[in-house]
Symmetry: C3
Subunit: 347 residues, 3 copies
Amino acid sequence: MADDRRFLGPPRLTPLAAILTAAGGEADGDRERIFEGVAPLDSATPSQVSYCEGRAYKDALVQTAAGLVLVAPDLAEFVPASSIAVICRDTALAFGRVAALFHPAPTPSGQIHPSAVIHPDAIIGAGTEIGASAVIGAGAEIGRNCRIGPLVLIGEKVVLGDDCVIHSHCSVTHAVLGRGVVLHPGARIGQEGFGFNTTADGRFVTAPQLGSVRLGDAVEVGANSCVDRGALGETVLGAGSRIDNLVQIGHNVRTGRGCVLVSQVGVSGSTTLGDFVMAGGQAGLTGHLKIGSKVRIGAQAGVMNDVPPGLEVLGSPAAPKKEAIRAMLVLKRLGSDSRPAARQKPE
Amino acid sequence: MADDRRFLGPPRLTPLAAILTAAGGEADGDRERIFEGVAPLDSATPSQVSYCEGRAYKDALVQTAAGLVLVAPDLAEFVPASSIAVICRDTALAFGRVAALFHPAPTPSGQIHPSAVIHPDAIIGAGTEIGASAVIGAGAEIGRNCRIGPLVLIGEKVVLGDDCVIHSHCSVTHAVLGRGVVLHPGARIGQEGFGFNTTADGRFVTAPQLGSVRLGDAVEVGANSCVDRGALGETVLGAGSRIDNLVQIGHNVRTGRGCVLVSQVGVSGSTTLGDFVMAGGQAGLTGHLKIGSKVRIGAQAGVMNDVPPGLEVLGSPAAPKKEAIRAMLVLKRLGSDSRPAARQKPE
Amino acid sequence: MADDRRFLGPPRLTPLAAILTAAGGEADGDRERIFEGVAPLDSATPSQVSYCEGRAYKDALVQTAAGLVLVAPDLAEFVPASSIAVICRDTALAFGRVAALFHPAPTPSGQIHPSAVIHPDAIIGAGTEIGASAVIGAGAEIGRNCRIGPLVLIGEKVVLGDDCVIHSHCSVTHAVLGRGVVLHPGARIGQEGFGFNTTADGRFVTAPQLGSVRLGDAVEVGANSCVDRGALGETVLGAGSRIDNLVQIGHNVRTGRGCVLVSQVGVSGSTTLGDFVMAGGQAGLTGHLKIGSKVRIGAQAGVMNDVPPGLEVLGSPAAPKKEAIRAMLVLKRLGSDSRPAARQKPE
């Protein structure tokens, strides 16, 4: 944690009363008592706040020196007498709110670094910060109170809503972003997709990549992830969707609201996702599929067919969870059988 | 489509005659009639051209308001009477050519942005455009009519043929590129590969990474993909090969002409591919393999052995298509059996 | 090899005596004889040194024109009479040392490019080189003799030990790096991880990402790989660990010393690895796992459970090697059976 302090700077001192309000919980104790920060259970001091992520961390909870711990009801009995226990229905959510009291998100400085290259026809909203050697193209329209990091490219005519955060080394071209969009370092938004046709004599000719990208409000795209522009029409990530690092979104993919794609997922061109679809790490989806709302796709799954709403699928090729698990169990049994493999052939 | 217009600018007005020539098709109608752009079937207007990707889009075809539709022979009967039907053998290829009439590829401006850092010993061909804060190293030789985007690094002594397009944030070092090579944003060409040896006392010592990269004419490399320099000798992508986003090409890999590697494929060091090899998304190939020409590798396949020319392989570990599908069907049956899993053990 | 010469520049002329010392081997011959470089077996000339990687390269060995070949004892008999055979226990390691005689690693120039943007409060060690348009934030502390490439971001308060090499387009924020760390182009170190909680009404709220990254001495991270900062506390890569390209390391992952993660591996949040763990390409590990020291994880494996020290696991879901191979063999047999699939159902 010593290193973290280096980067965070001093926490804002916060009284118990404010912590309880943020956490949405109650506790006995001096409501004026001041806390000085947050820390994991095993390193927190009596002046710090911690939380218990779940039963797996019970041992750390029993031994913590934290002055206050956010816990689920069923773990409250394990909070040591030296700590104030604050019971929360969702400890992780509550802890996030409490942590933000001590370490509020940085606000844009409103300054434009002199080394940034901003086209005179670009429009920059009030309060927006632009970092060193960022490049802003002609006709770009950037909202208010955005943070554009160093070495970012915002291409011609790109639109950013208010309160966007574009971290270093991102490229954003042919794209319209809503409010509060966050792009992590190196994200690639709006480049040409992978489309070509083959001539009669076997040469590849690039198919026209004329479309754009639309990112809804509060979308987040992870470091070094890629969202290609539509071939014709748009590639769309619905409001609130969260994309982890190193994810590939092909041209003309469209997601609904609140989709969650974990690291290294790949979604091929023209596949559509409903609302609140979740895909585990390294899952892959072929093109032109329809994935219903609230579908859950397991890590490393290979989805080759449409999936109706609400279904959970696993495996490669992906199958409904129950089927996939049964097949895995059978396979595991075939593998673990103590008899020589030569005799396991079914007859 | 409103957003696309923002980025594309006004289409060039194009008469029917020119469209028919580009599409290689015939149709009745006023050959002087002017069209104003391209659009998908469901949003095209009577002044726009569209095309039908295949039978799956028959409903959209029947209802389109497009003034002209490129279609395969077997779908011509579904073109509404209000549209001119132009029958093509390859509608996608024809549509690409027609779209390029309305929206020709951007041409290099020939301007060098004053913020670019160009070593005085670099050679820049006539007509080449270099974007803001690009960095060009000593001894680099860049051909004519190239487009080098903002924030690109072209390293020392790198060679680019004519008509190359290097998009923003790419790094190109220790590499010789042919004519018309396209690198999408964030592509990494020519960095050190992953090679090291272990000393008797367990330390890793980097193996010499002294080689280079050669990209043939018209090679394309996708956003954030990586092509490592050879350890000794070259890493080669053959002419016309197309690499999608987030693909990894290890040191001393060599591909033939026209290979196609879809997003997130990984090819380990020293593996060689013949001509026109295709690998689906997220497929992986271990090192030192020989993959014959026209081999097709399924998405997410794991290739651990040489593959003879022309074979199609699937699965992880990869097997010939027929075997792999049969095994998947058997596994699927084991998983979907209605009896309790406990009784499915083969006896 | 012609291209390589372009990039390497002239090799240092080196006498046999120095080669034998570096290789740790003995041979007859004029110890003053000068060699002029290294090359693969099939292109080396009588004035060059080569080596034989293994029995698979026996044919190339028999035909080589190299003046000197490093070989394992069991291959010495195949070295042609025209070559000096130097017998080594580890030819690859020996060759690396010999190659470094001819082509020593580049040393930092000690120059700071005038286009670099360096905050006046940053501390730059003696001998450190900083490339064009690099950006160094306030309070950063960079050691001696580092090489910081063009277009790199070193964020506020970041610490780099001596002798680090940070290639172009890297971003390093919220991170403390040891001595001799190497980051390849486009590596992302210290950005926010993928953490959020869901409110009662279904919105996602970012969980605090307040931690940092610590990279031990001599850690290497590949091109476009990502190492997220801790949510609370640190994400750690232990000394000497080697991470290939396009790898994802989630927040609060901790590895021991000397771990090796091949390209496109993904390690989810809070998973810990012991010392000398190896993971093959495209393997994935879910979160909160404990992987023991010297565990070996196969390419494309999907690890969903803790793994005890020393075990080798394969497959997705991953299983101990013996089990996994047996299951693969059974499955292969089911797939390759010549009878119709319909009759293979176990009864």
